[in-house]
């Protein structure tokens, strides 16, 4: 179990993760910056404050499980695993190279700490439901956390698994919807808007909670309330900013999987570092 952290400590950790993501992408190499950075506070809160996950015993059968159904955002998970010492920092510049262990999408065979193979969108929630059922059969109290993207919601399989999760009452599963409102080729509202998302999940039998996905206090309290709900799974709809923390990448599809020039890379690092500095000084950051 990670020690409980304050909200401001978690915010600072989130920016450390964002910096790791940038270092992984580097210069001249495509990387999923936008959808990784929108998740930084959620991932930081889960890994550093909430999940039962011992970096020294990553196969503990009683651990909580973290699954990225939106597998393309795996850089943010790698970043957390680097901070925890599960992945060596030497791997950071070797992302998506033959010499490295950090694949373009989550690969259990290559990377320690990865719990499933995801990346073909729509499958992660089903996998999470299966894990939750298996853990429940064994009488374990482990929880399963699954993170989905809002563009991903167009995948029919997600709705199949939403129905199954409710039908089997898997209350040891909490899903997040990273609602950053931008998908690969443009704003969700222009590409494939899905109306009444909250209402749909409620109608499908889920407990639904809405939060600001960049506010660790809200994330923690949503996780608390999800855990208290018995007999149904919970969905935390997290409103987020795609590319959060990197000024030119915020709210744009251009850096869903963009390439950074030297200039943009330097600018991105300085954006992230300036917030980190402000957080360290206890200065309120508002952009």
């Amino acid at each position: 179990m990670q020690s409980a952290k304050t909200a401001s400590e978690l915010s600072a950790l989130a920016y450390r993760l964002r910096r790791n993501v940038l270092e992984m992408i580097g210069v001249g190499k495509a990387g999923h910056l936008g959808g990784s950075n929108s998740l930084a506070e959620i991932v930081a809160t889960l890994y550093f404050s909430r999940m039962r996950f011992d970096p020294k015993n990553i196969h503990d059968p009683d651990r909580d499980r973290f699954l990225l159904s939106k597998g393309h955002a795996v850089l943010i998970q790698y970043s957390a695993l680097v901070e925890l010492g599960v992945i060596s920092r030497d791997e950071v510049p070797k992302v998506k190279t033959l010499a490295g262990i950090l694949q373009g999408h989550p690969d259990m065979a290559k990377t320690p700490g990865i719990e499933a193979v995801t990346g073909s969108l729509g499958q992660g929630l089903s996998i999470g439901v299966g894990m939750a059922l298996g853990l429940r059969l064994d009488g374990r109290s482990s929880r399963v956390y699954v993170i989905m993207g809002d563009g991903e919601l167009a995948e029919g399989q997600l709705w199949e698994s939403a129905m199954a999760a409710a039908r089997f009452k898997v209350d040891n599963l909490t899903a997040f919807l990273d609602r950053n409102s931008i998908q690969a080729t443009g704003p969700v509202k222009d590409i494939f808007e899905i109306p009444a998302i909250e209402e749909k999940w409620i109608a499908f039998g889920w407990n639904v909670i809405l939060i600001d996905g960049h506010n660790p206090t809200e994330i923690l309290s949503a996780l608390d309330s999800a855990e208290k709900v018995k007999g149904k799974p919970s969905l935390i709809i997290a409103n987020t900013v795609k590319g959060k923390g990197v000024s030119f990448a915020e709210n744009t599809a251009a850096f869903h999987n963009g390439i950074l020039t030297k200039e943009l890379y330097e600018k991105a690092l300085s954006d992230v570092d300036s917030v980190s500095l402000a957080l360290a000084n206890g200065t309120e950051v508002r952009k």
């Binding site: 059968p61 065979a109 499933a116 089903s126 996998i127 298996g134 853990l135 199954a164």
Partner: protein, 326 residues
């Protein structure tokens, strides 16, 4: 009288046995429990049985999750949906991480004779064979079905069971040990080698007996492990024969025939002919026999193919008269 057993029934009973031996065995079903006979497991282990509804994609990835939590899930549907509807889930959720998931492709081949093209899996072995890490098993009779299930306990990675819907005559000896990955000779001979799987093994034996009456000595091989293919034994059993025939209830593209030729590709070997479905979908028919006859999946076709090769004839189109079911 030849004894026979329904393969689905043999499967369902074997699954229950596995469930008794190992509490980690769980089953998932897509509303076909009476057909697939997973109902037998449901009756005995309702807490380890997940009726997933008619949602094969979710069922398949859910099985991955169960495997990741230490369970040994058996996924059930018709073969055509296991291989087709849930292909990407099989590929990415299960085969990439090489999970210990078992897929029961029931009513495979043309064995669901009444339901027609949409329900008859004629390409499932090609699809499954192409997936890295997948094991593909096609039992010839109920005895082998049961042994395969027992042997699967110690087999790592995903397994696809191609399960016929009907009664098939016993062709495999009850007392012979079974190993996944091995092929066995079920009829000895020296002039012709017939590689077959599933329902075509009994037809191969029938052909061998008819040819023996004409003085042609035929070896029939039950190649029930279609993948990983027993390459060394295939080469060994092909050595010295004058003709090789591969018989399968499947499209000739990518199935057992392909596996045999892949195995023999680096050695000099006798000419090979395929008895299978010539690039077409199935059809509805009044019974299984009529449908197999319609597609030329018969002992007569095997005999014809062997004679053609022995006579050195290579008919136009490299094969029998084509059956096209459009």
């Amino acid at each position: 009288m030849t004894a026979a057993k329904n393969l689905r029934e043999a499967y369902g009973q074997a699954l229950v046995e596995l469930g008794r031996k190992d509490r980690n065995v769980v089953a998932l079903e897509a509303d076909l429990r009476n057909s697939t006979r997973s109902v037998l497991f449901y009756n005995e282990f309702p807490d380890r049985y997940f009726e997933m509804g008619i949602a094969e994609q979710n069922m398949t990835s859910t099985a991955a999750g169960l495997a990741l939590a230490g369970k040994i899930p058996f996924v059930h549907s018709f073969a055509v949906f296991c291989a087709g509807r849930a292909y990407d889930q099989l590929r990415n959720s299960i085969c990439v991480p090489r999970l210990k998931v078992r897929i029961c492709g029931s009513s495979a081949g043309l064995s669901d004779y009444g339901d027609g093209k949409t329900h008859q899996a004629i390409e499932d072995m090609s699809i499954m064979r192409a997936l890295p890490n997948m094991t593909v098993l096609c039992p010839a009779d109920g005895i082998e079905m049961t042994k395969m299930m027992e042997a699967s306990v110690d087999w790592d990675g995903p397994i696809y069971f191609r399960v016929n819907r009907n009664e098939l005559p016993f062709v495999t000896p009850e007392d012979e040990p079974y190993h996944i990955g091995k092929m066995t000779t079920v009829h000895e001979g020296t002039d012709v080698a017939i590689f077959a799987c599933g329902v075509m093994v009994s037809r191969g034996i029938e052909a061998a007996k008819a040819l023996a009456a004409e003085g042609v000595s035929v070896r029939v091989i039950n190649a029930s492990t279609v993948k990983p293919f027993d390459v060394d034994t295939a080469i060994e059993l092909s050595r010295g024969v004058k003709a090789i025939v591969v018989a399968e209830e499947h499209t000739i593209i990518g199935g057992l025939g392909s596996a045999v030729v892949e195995a023999l590709r680096s050695v000099t070997h006798a000419p090979v002919q395929f008895v299978g479905i010539e690039d077409s979908f199935g059809l509805s028919a009044e019974n299984y026999e009529i449908l197999l006859d319609h597609f030329g999946l018969t002992a007569a076709a095997i005999i014809g193919a062997a004679r053609e090769l022995l006579d050195g004839r290579t008919p136009a189109g490299n094969g029998r008269e084509k059956v096209v079911s459009r």
